[in-house]
């Protein structure tokens, strides 16, 4: 491509593309503030972990396993120090 071709392409592009208005048609700052206010607050990881949605996704057999663990600890509480040692 020669320099003349480059110039020709540039002229064609200038003719084809409409000129951009450097000023926005309306004030965008108020819309930006509204958008920022709409953003949900960042939740802590504990809130995410124990959110109703994540608790609802736990299958029933995992709840059953957890219940078995708790019942086992209640039946044999003397084993708690041994459990603590192994965790």
């Amino acid at each position: 491509m020669t320099e003349q071709d480059h110039k020709k392409i540039a002229d064609l592009l200038k003719q084809t593309l409409s000129p951009v208005n450097p000023e926005p048609s309306r004030d965008l700052w108020s819309a930006m503030l509204r958008r920022l206010e709409q953003r949900p607050a960042t939740k802590s990881w504990l809130a995410v972990m124990f959110s109703p949605a994540s608790l609802a996704s736990v299958p029933w057999f995992d709840w059953a396993l957890l219940a078995a663990l708790i019942i086992g600890l209640c039946i044999y509480p003397k084993s708690i120090p041994v459990w603590l040692y192994h965790f």
């Binding site: 972990m49 995992d62 396993l65 957890l66 708690i80 603590l84 192994h86 965790f87």
Partner: protein
Amino acid sequence: MNTHPYLRAYMAGSAVPTMMLVVVLSGFLIARYTFQIPIPIERAIVFPMALVPNIFGLWNIFYLWLRPRRHLPIGFHGALLPFILAPLGFGLATVSGFLAATSGGLVWFHELVVPYGFLALGFSFALIAYYLVWKYIVGFFNGVLGIA
């Protein structure tokens, strides 16, 4: 760009037992000073404080390394860990002098007798506990750190 996935896996794995350490220490203190169980805290805390968090971190690194090769769900991967931790814990407790094997069963902290018949039940409970912890807590931390 190297995003250090193994370092993140180590941190995600070791976070859970590190947070549990406060619970463990509180439990030991309550057992010793409220229920008068003679737990040698300074020796008993070595295993949950020094070894378990590191092994959790390394096990999570192993999970990440293993994933493209032979994928095992994280819960089952975690449930395999007691097969390593239980012998280590028993060995260290025996060497430290607060676990003894007698004819009636294992004697923990010179006071708590665990009959041999209960060992298999206790071990299966450990498998359940580790399965749940790895599936829901370590898995969650892996997700938070972007390695799930």
